[in-house]
């Protein structure tokens, strides 16, 4: 079955002439049609359009003829871009390609299918999508994580070869961990955000979810690069990330933050991560305890900054130029009705929170303090990286929870992002790789190992992830 293959394998088959790009699309379409009803990973897919593109694909390109599934907040010309929201679900067709999509196309890839997500990427279970339920392929009663839950469910469930996601506080790494695939958030600024619907602009970053570390490295080679249409895009060289794979990790220094290995981590998750640490040690890595003293401020800092930025970014949804539009007697009613009918509960909650922390009298107490805390958190990492090359932790303290289990407790759900959030606040690259499973109620639930590197040092992160994956 081609749908269960990796990019690397399919490329060999394509180059050898054993298969055509059309064969891959048709096989994926068959898999999606038979199993998407139960997984709910895709919100929509256009087979005819994908076949037309596949037939034209330049298979000589390094990604030639490979279909990549896309999170539904990244614009692809002529396709929907719902962001999992009713405000965009009925009447928006993307009139342009995002920068990341243009780069994929330049490598010969074919964007195919739109993947479910928490509404506007706000959430970590995909339960906040207004457009459908996505399930974890390892246990259909459980969430796939989020917000890129559709991406992780599709890749781990063999309904996609690879996918794009976006990560603001862990939204690529956490669902990859919970579903059992690889997901990497590169350094802030590596991949253009042009055409990614903005949630929290100073934290958002696009990245791939794949079945192997090698596939992630290959996709990063093509996704990264300067884009003048994103003013935060970094004008730096993109190395060949695949070149770092297969190199050994002897003498590499790995840091374990003492603040991370605390009560509150599921014992099965803890055991898997400890086993992973011993394995890396046996491969020649040197394990050291480090300190990230401001860890406890991470989640609070994030839940000031991200909603503040979101409340400003989502002001554009006013029912005038695009999106849901309510009928109203005057312009103010038009705004408030369009927005109140269009946004779901979690988005409203965060817009209200963001508006509150930015409002007169609270700005200094919350927003400025959070920006100061962000400095301290970033400085923690700068200090730690003077001693070590990468930092290891669980990706998520818990395995996937059951659908509906966290519904009435938004704060408890926020606290599960404790290991992923600081990485976004500091703008660093982080990957989640599968590191075993934990047995819960007769199901083997995946556990993810998070490897965090210095800014722009994805190469080392990938090297360690690859060495672990291959061991």
């Amino acid at each position: 079955m081609l749908a269960s293959s990796t990019i690397t394998t399919l490329r060999q088959q394509l180059v050898a002439g054993d298969i055509t790009p059309r064969d891959i699309i048709l096989d994926l379409a068959k898999a999606i049609e038979s199993r998407n009803t139960s997984l709910g990973a895709y919100l929509s897919w256009d087979i005819e359009a994908a076949l037309a593109e596949a037939d034209k694909a330049d298979t000589s390109g390094p990604l030639g003829g490979i279909p990549i599934a896309i999170k539904d907040n990244i614009n692809v010309t002529g396709q929907p871009c719902t962001c999992g929201s009713r405000i965009l679900s009925e009447n928006y067709t993307a009139p342009y390609d995002a920068g990341a999509i243009q780069r994929l196309r330049a490598g010969g890839a074919v964007p195919f299918g739109r993947l479910n997500m928490d509404e506007f990427a706000m959430g970590s279970s995909t339960e906040n999508s207004a457009l459908g339920v996505t399930r974890n392929p390892r246990d259909l009663e459980r969430v796939p994580g989020g917000s890129s839950g559709g991406s992780a469910s599709a890749v781990a469930g063999d309904l996609a070869i690879a996918a794009l996601g976006s990560d603001t506080g862990g939204s690529i790494r956490q669902p990859a961990a919970l579903c059992g695939c690889v997901g990497i958030k590169p350094t802030y600024g590596r991949i253009s955000r042009y055409g990614l619907v903005a949630f929290a602009s100073s934290l958002d970053q696009i990245g791939p979810l794949t079945k192997t570390v090698a596939d992630s490295a290959l996709l990063l080679n093509h996704l990264c690069g300067h884009d003048p249409r994103d003013s935060t895009s970094l004008n730096v060289e993109t190395p060949d990330f695949t070149a770092s794979l297969g190199k050994d990790i002897k003498g590499l220094r790995i840091g374990l933050p003492k603040e991370y290995y605390i009560n509150g981590i599921h014992p099965g998750v803890s055991a898997s991560v400890q086993a992973a640490i011993r394995k890396l040690e046996s491969l020649g890595a040197i394990i050291e305890e480090i300190s990230l003293p401001h860890t406890e401020l991470g989640v609070a800092t994030y839940y000031v900054l991200a909603p503040a930025e979101a409340s400003a970014n989502l002001a554009r949804f006013d029912g005038v130029r695009y999106g849901r539009s309510a009928s109203a007697a005057d312009l103010m009613e038009h705004y408030t009705r369009s927005r109140s009918e269009g946004f779901g509960p979690e988005v409203k909650r965060r817009i209200l929170l963001g508006t509150y922390v930015l409002s007169s009298g609270y700005y200094d107490a919350y927003y400025i303090r959070a920006q100061k805390a962000r400095t301290l958190i970033r400085d923690d990492f700068t200090e730690a990286f003077k001693k070590v090359d990468v930092i290891l932790s669980p990706t998520s303290p818990m395995p996937a929870h059951k659908l509906g289990e966290m519904k009435d407790n938004p704060l408890a759900a926020y606290l599960e992002d404790v290991f992923t959030i600081p990485v976004n606040l500091a703008g660093l690259p982080g990957i989640s790789v599968p590191c075993g499973t934990v047995e819960v109620e007769g199901k083997a639930l995946p556990v993810g190992l998070q490897i965090v590197g210095k800014a722009l040092d994805e190469a080392t992160v990938l090297r360690v992830a690859h060495a672990f994956e291959q061991s």
Partner: protein, 96 residues
């Protein structure tokens, strides 16, 4: 438990251009109070003289050359407009 933060939720909603039902107002006020109580770890912590950080990577004042470049055609720009009148986007009356 009494609310620790006296949030005027309807005022905040008005600033955010949202309207809330009474049910929503009660629920959001309680939930925001819980979240803000947690966020108060920031206000209780001595942050010293740390400078505020807006962005993790040092990218400042990016300017582009002041020359024209291709953009949307009029048709593309109007393609998602909920209401249009000829080549313009139509909105409810603003001026009496």
């Amino acid at each position: 438990m009494p609310a620790a933060h006296q949030i005027d939720i309807h005022h905040v909603a008005k600033l955010a251009r949202l309207t809330l039902t009474e049910d929503e107002a009660l629920r959001y006020a309680a939930q925001l109070d819980g979240i803000l109580t947690y966020i108060d770890t920031l206000t209780q912590h001595d942050l010293g003289a740390a400078e505020p950080t807006a962005h993790a990577m040092p990218v400042y004042d990016v300017l582009r050359a002041d020359v024209s470049r291709p953009g949307f055609t009029q048709e593309q720009a109007l393609s998602n407009a909920p209401k249009r009148s000829g080549d313009q986007i139509q909105i409810p009356k603003v001026i009496e």
